[in-house]
């Protein structure tokens, strides 16, 4: 069944090529994108089942055996991440299709959107499956290149400005990663991760620390770990709603995945764990304090995104099976919830014309469904029982308490505080945007809402202001349906939390043992 392994990378790439050839035929493009992502989801689910039953699956790309050729490795962690990311990308795709349909057939950039979106998916899956450090770099570059196009789609002034920050910071992190790869290769003579697991162990301590720090720095920028996080709230909110949603859900988590992979496989042990824990604490607190100060829903959510990256780092920094399991569970939970919240923010913007809290009000009465779509994932994010956010935080806190020590206790306290402040930030959004009777909806009527209708911005600009509200359906059913599906998925995570935690714990044990991964790549021992 190893033929399944490359499919999540190959299918989106082929779909993107087809879509590129079919520019100008939106219906066909949409069909292809949906079929491809459904197939990717199916392949990912089968991979997860197989890896849980049989252990890691390995494919030597091009038939070249491991140390010479590049391998794709699907272990349980990769399988889990693939399933979640495929589910989320599929929902966001449906959402953006709903938006595209609602905005009319004149929405020109849509034809670039589909191929780029599929390439982004391929980059993400490639990063998850990479069994080779350079292939991981290539995966990152694929997804980053696609993300540059997506974040600046429409090329308005605000997007060019914010996109510049994003592109330059991402390129810088890529250079750091490249330097890390160069150093690792110079020190060990290989980039195959299974082989590195053996060879890095043999290196002198100082050299290992250098390699570890350079790689952590590169991944820390991508994962938006404080103090490397300032670029994120500055660049994400300006993009179109589906793009922000998928970026927020997936891209930082690819960085977290890379940190988990390298910290467990290449640099095992608690060397560097203290740095991770301190970074985790600062990320949580600084991020959430930033969120509390915001007056725009999208910016506020971007800050909570940064803040909750801290929880995942916390789990990784504990270097215990329980901590790692908590981190993996939290990654899965957070991908779904954060994406949902950004999609809902897009719906709010569509309905009320703005995401500025000072101008919003009375949405609970005007749009009860929208309120529900916000309320459930918001409580989930803040960690209210019985939702998965609570369970994930509980798992992490328990692992922290078990670990003991000053730093772990500090992190436990910081985690609780962050959770409370998240609740405060979320409650503020709820009170201002939904609960208060607030400004009349006519008062909040936007002059124009660039961010939510970029695909048809020129159409919107041509239509007279008064007529626009009447001609545009308030909430396109497809957009609501896809958001609702993600809300249900988020609640579903709570329902299946037990089995999901078991899978996370299994993956964590596998990661910490290291040998299953190495043996899968080199059945006869690493050369």
């Amino acid at each position: 069944m190893t033929w399944l392994v490359p499919l999540p990378v190959v299918m989106p790439l082929l779909g993107a090529a087809l879509n590129l050839a079919l520019i100008g035929r939106p219906t066909v493009q949409r069909t292809i994108s949906i079929v491809v992502l459904v197939a990717t989801l199916a392949a990912a689910a089968m991979l997860l089942g197989l890896t849980a039953a049989e252990g890691p699956l390995v494919v030597a790309v091009g038939g070249w055996a491991a140390p010479l050729g590049i391998v794709l490795v699907a272990d349980q962690l990769a399988g889990l991440m693939l399933v979640v990311s495929a589910a989320v990308t599929l929902s966001v795709l449906v959402y953006s299709i709903g938006q595209g349909i609602a905005d009319g057939p004149d929405a020109a950039p849509v034809s670039v959107y589909h191929p780029t979106y599929l390439i982004l998916t391929a980059g993400v899956t490639n990063a998850f499956l990479a069994g080779d450090l350079f292939n991981l770099y290539v995966g990152f570059e694929i997804l980053l290149a696609a993300s540059y196009v997506l974040i600046t789609i429409g090329a308005t002034e605000a997007r060019i400005r914010d996109g510049t920050t994003y592109v330059v910071v991402s390129l810088l992190s890529s250079v750091v990663f490249l330097v890390g790869i160069g150093l690792v290769y110079a020190a060990t003579g290989t980039l195959n991760m299974a082989q590195l697991a053996d060879r890095i162990d043999a290196l002198p301590d100082g050299l290992r620390l250098v390699l570890q720090s350079v790689l952590l720095l590169a991944f820390g920028i991508k994962a938006a770990v404080f103090p490397l996080s300032a670029w994120l709230p500055d660049s994400y909110p300006t993009a179109i709603a589906p793009v922000t949603a998928v970026f927020a859900g997936l891209l930082t988590k690819v960085g977290i995945y890379a940190i988990i992979r390298t910290e467990t496989l290449l640099f095992p042990g608690d060397r560097g764990a203290d740095v991770l824990m301190v970074a985790a604490l600062l990320t949580m607190l600084v991020g959430i304090l930033g969120a509390v100060a915001q007056s725009d829903i999208k910016r506020l959510l971007s800050f909570t995104l940064v803040s909750h990256i801290g929880y995942m780092l916390f789990g990784i920094g504990l270097v215990s099976a329980a901590g790692l399991a908590g981190a993996i569970f939290y990654v899965v939970h957070h991908i779904v919830i954060q994406t949902t919240l950004f999609l809902t923010a897009g719906l709010i913007e569509r309905h009320a014309g703005t995401t500025n809290l000072e101008q919003l009000g009375g949405l609970a009465r005007l749009a009860p469904l929208l309120a529900l779509l916000f309320f459930i994932p918001a409580l989930n994010l803040a960690g209210i029982p019985p939702f998965s956010g609570f369970l994930g935080k509980l798992g992490l806190l328990q692992a922290g308490v078990t670990k003991g020590g000053v730093l772990a206790w500090l992190l436990v306290a910081g985690g609780v505080l962050t959770s409370l402040l998240t609740l405060y930030a979320i409650a503020r959004v709820w009170n201002l945007a939904f609960w208060r009777s607030g400004p009349a909806p006519e008062g909040a009527e936007p002059l124009s809402s660039e961010a939510d209708a970029p695909l048809a911005s020129h159409v919107a600009a041509k239509a007279p202001l008064a007529g626009r509200v009447a001609t545009r359906p308030v909430l396109p059913p497809l957009m609501v349906a896809s958001t609702l599906a993600l809300v249900v998925l988020g609640v579903g995570l709570t329902v299946v939390a037990g089995p999901l935690f078991d899978v996370s714990a299994d993956s964590a044990t596998q990661l910490l043992e290291r040998q299953p991964y190495v043996r899968a790549v080199f059945p006869d021992g690493a050369p």
Partner: protein
């Protein structure tokens, strides 16, 4: 294997110059800085591959070959950098078309703080600053946060 000292110095100079340019405001200079940085990184990888003859069977004895894998990786990295630089140049051009310059502006938070400062200081102090009117302009823009002009 012992790295060539000249190469090491060149890598260091490339990185230093790249970082300096990266700290500039103008996007064109940032692009040049990134180009220097990635060239430095590529040279570093080549250094890691070791020194030797061309890795072609029959031309060089196997023991004297340089590492072809490092060269292959550098080629990949060069191609990727080329694409990214082209994209960034397009962005700089677009920025010039839209705003008349390619300077990267302050982020929303900085703009808001500046607007508040300008508001608190009142109109009389603004004249004292050379870029006072600009501040007022940005203050207006920051108020309706990201609304298109």
């Amino acid at each position: 294997m012992r790295p060539n000292l000249l190469f090491v110095i060149v890598v260091g100079v490339l990185f230093a110059a790249g970082v300096t340019l990266l700290l500039e405001r103008t996007l064109t200079r940032v692009i040049l800085g990134l180009a220097l940085l990635s060239n430095g990184a590529n040279l570093l990888i080549l250094l890691g591959g070791g020194y030797g003859g061309p890795p072609i069977v029959g031309v060089t004895a196997e023991s004297r070959m340089s590492d072809p894998l490092a060269q292959a990786m550098v080629l990949t990295a060069i191609v990727i950098t080329l694409g990214m630089t082209a994209f960034l140049l397009a962005m700089a051009y677009r920025s010039r078309v839209l705003t008349g310059h390619d300077e990267v502006q302050d982020d929303a938070e900085d703009r808001r703080i500046m607007a508040r400062a300008a508001h608190d200081l009142g109109p009389e102090t603004e004249d004292a600053q050379p870029d006072g009117p600009w501040l007022v302009l940005r203050a207006g823009a920051a108020d309706d946060d990201r609304a298109p002009r």
